[in-house]
């Protein structure tokens, strides 16, 4: 008899997603799938709108990472505005970088302190009522407060660079619409209490220490849980440095061999395809040179630290060297090391923010560059969760005729499915019942990717965890809601 276990949706993962695990009569896993409802309607919605509206309109897509969409869209429209990705004024580019690294910082801090730390502090097999952020607040109050402050710090960076919290207008085609005043800058340098950039760097280092201590005591779990080889893809700076705002597109295979040689992402369609599968609303991107079967890849912190050659800030570089040494300089395929990589990026983001705050270009008044208009542009950015693609074409009336988006979570679609299968095989196969720890293991594997499932609409995004167990002919055997 085949049984079907559904985990729907995944707790602590935004939007609509469910996991189905098919069991045979001996409770062996015969198939597992992560189903995600992705809202593709936006690409049609934006057609016919003036191109300069896009950086604001795209924020309708997602209430979780609107800044990433805002900037990726603006970068694509820089090309259409004839400025190109490298033609912004120093003030324009650095203000955007500040906004972006603020977004990275707050997103990574939220993920670690309030989503991952319960698993690390209490163990993934701890009871659900124990393994949550409230228990962190109870037993590690200082840590929980730090998480709140780090998130707030990043959010405030976004507010002053984007102009406002909702539907920010900071980035426009060819530049930005405001600089950073000295008063705004001093908020972050001299910030009252602990709200200053030096404290953010210190806390980022503390968070790394917490992870590394956990790793030391739980090496087997952290190194082997949901680990599997893959290709990796990200932007890197032209000299190979980690760069989350701009660069060339690089991909490596599981052994570290370059399979995309630092290409200009304006030509991404020559290298990347998107496969449609009957059982999923979400597409499956792949490298064309390797084909649909073997061309899937990972994006995000793990991929970025695999593809880059170095990190251009000193404290993060030191951590990067230790991280790379752990796998003897070879690509790291360990899913739980995504948290390690994410924390190194958090520290890097704090260092970048500090450097930018002391850069007087941010007080410059040349905000926008101008060029000769073209009719097509591609913008890529390394969003917190991975590479984000925005591609637009416009007509002679400046109206958008085509939009194609590949969001980070879509890029990680196949890897997340592989992670689920890996955990299902190891922890669920052969079992006669499904324990909470097993279900949480599946969630932990997916959570490592920090997926954002594009549910921008707050009111619709409220769904409890529901678990349903079916037999081979679709009879409901069991149903649980948390």
């Amino acid at each position: 008899m085949e049984q079907k276990l559904r985990i729907e949706p995944i707790t602590r993962v935004e939007g609509h997603g469910k996991v189905t695990i098919h069991l045979d009569e001996d409770n062996n896993v015969i198939q597992s799938r992560l189903h995600i409802v992705e809202f593709r309607g936006f690409e049609r919605f934006i057609q016919g709108r003036p191109y300069w509206e896009a950086p604001v309109l795209v924020q309708r897509l997602c209430g979780i990472c609107p800044v990433s969409h805002h900037l990726a869209s603006a970068k694509a429209l820089d090309v259409i505005a004839g400025v190109g990705p490298n033609g912004l004024t120093p003030t324009g580019e650095k203000m955007r970088r500040l906004m972006h690294y603020g977004q990275i910082f707050q997103s990574h801090a939220l993920h670690f302190f309030h989503l991952v730390s319960p698993d690390l502090l209490f163990g993934i097999n701890a009871r659900p009522e124990k393994r949550n952020v409230i228990e962190v607040a109870n037993e590690f109050t200082e840590l929980a407060v730090q998480g709140v402050m780090m998130r707030k710090f990043g959010q405030e960076i976004i507010r002053v660079t984007a102009g406002k919290k909702i539907h920010g207008t900071g980035a426009i085609p060819g530049g930005i619409n405001k600089n950073l005043s000295l008063e705004e800058r001093d908020l972050f340098i001299k910030g009252h209490g602990q709200m200053n950039v030096d404290k953010m760097i210190e806390w980022s280092k503390d968070a790394l220490r917490l992870f590394k201590n956990y790793h030391k005591e739980n090496r087997e779990l952290v190194d082997n849980f949901a680990a599997f080889p893959s290709n990796h893809l990200s932007l890197v700076r032209k000299d190979g440095a980690l760069d989350l705002y701009h660069g060339v597109l690089r991909a490596i295979d599981e052994n570290g061999k370059k399979i995309l040689y630092d290409i200009d992402y304006q030509h991404y369609l020559d290298y990347i395809g998107e496969e449609v599968k009957s059982w999923s609303y979400m597409k499956f991107p792949f490298l064309k040179s390797l084909g649909k079967k073997d061309g899937w890849y990972r994006v995000g912190p793990l991929a970025r630290l695999n593809t880059c050659d170095f990190i251009p800030t000193p404290l993060a570089q030191k951590e990067f060297e230790e991280y790379k040494a752990y796998t003897d300089g070879k690509p790291n395929h360990k899913s739980m090391h995504m948290h390690w990589a994410r924390l190194i990026e958090t520290l890097h983001a704090a260092e970048v923010i500090k450097d930018l705050l002391y850069d007087s270009d941010l007080q410059g008044d040349e905000l926008v560059a101008k060029g000769k208009k073209s009719y097509e542009g591609v913008g890529l950015i390394e969003a917190p969760r991975g590479t984000l693609f925005h591609h637009y074409r416009i007509d002679k009336n400046d109206l958008i005729t085509m939009c194609n988006l590949i969001v980070s979570t879509t890029n990680n679609n196949e890897p997340m499915n592989r992670a689920v299968r890996q955990v299902a095989d190891e922890m669920i196969s052969g079992q006669r019942s499904i324990r909470e720890g097993m279900l949480n293991a599946v969630e932990v594997a997916i959570r490592a990717y920090d997926p954002c499932l594009s549910c921008a609409t707050h009111a619709l995004g409220k769904m409890p965890l529901e678990i349903s167990l079916f037999d081979r002919i679709g009879n409901l055997l069991d149903k649980k809601t948390n």
Partner: protein
Amino acid sequence: MKKILIYGYGNPGRQDDALGVLLTTKMENWSKKHKLNIIQFDTNYQLNIEDALLISEYDMVIFADASIEEISHYTISRVIPNPKAEFSMHAISPEFVLYLCQKLYNKHPETYLLHLKGYEFEFLSQLTQKAKNNLEMAFGFLTDVLEQSIFPVDLIENYIQDKEELKIN
């Protein structure tokens, strides 16, 4: 003098999901007109952990949000802190925000949730007509309450006690 925060959340680019944000904007304009300095305003796409710190600085908080629940026009209810309140990866509930506020900062603001019924959530900036009506009704309710008392806690509590949960049809 009590400090009051009115905090609307939702995505204004997704039709009726804008209700909480639009109500807050209307209230802010009304407050400026009447020079009510004790009331502060904030908006965002979602509630999140840093809002625990924000609300800790106020004596009274009124959250405003769109709702797809089976309510008529709008409801207001007292927010009861709840550690088990549903929260997904990147957004949390008012109950959870309040609980976190109490846990981390030992502050206990009087907190209410004003739910406004929404109907459509497409990629549009304009409310549906029915949502517009609900917005006006909720605005009328809130301004009435605030006009009658600079300390509206007792007034709202009376409404809730009288009717268990205030529903205006």
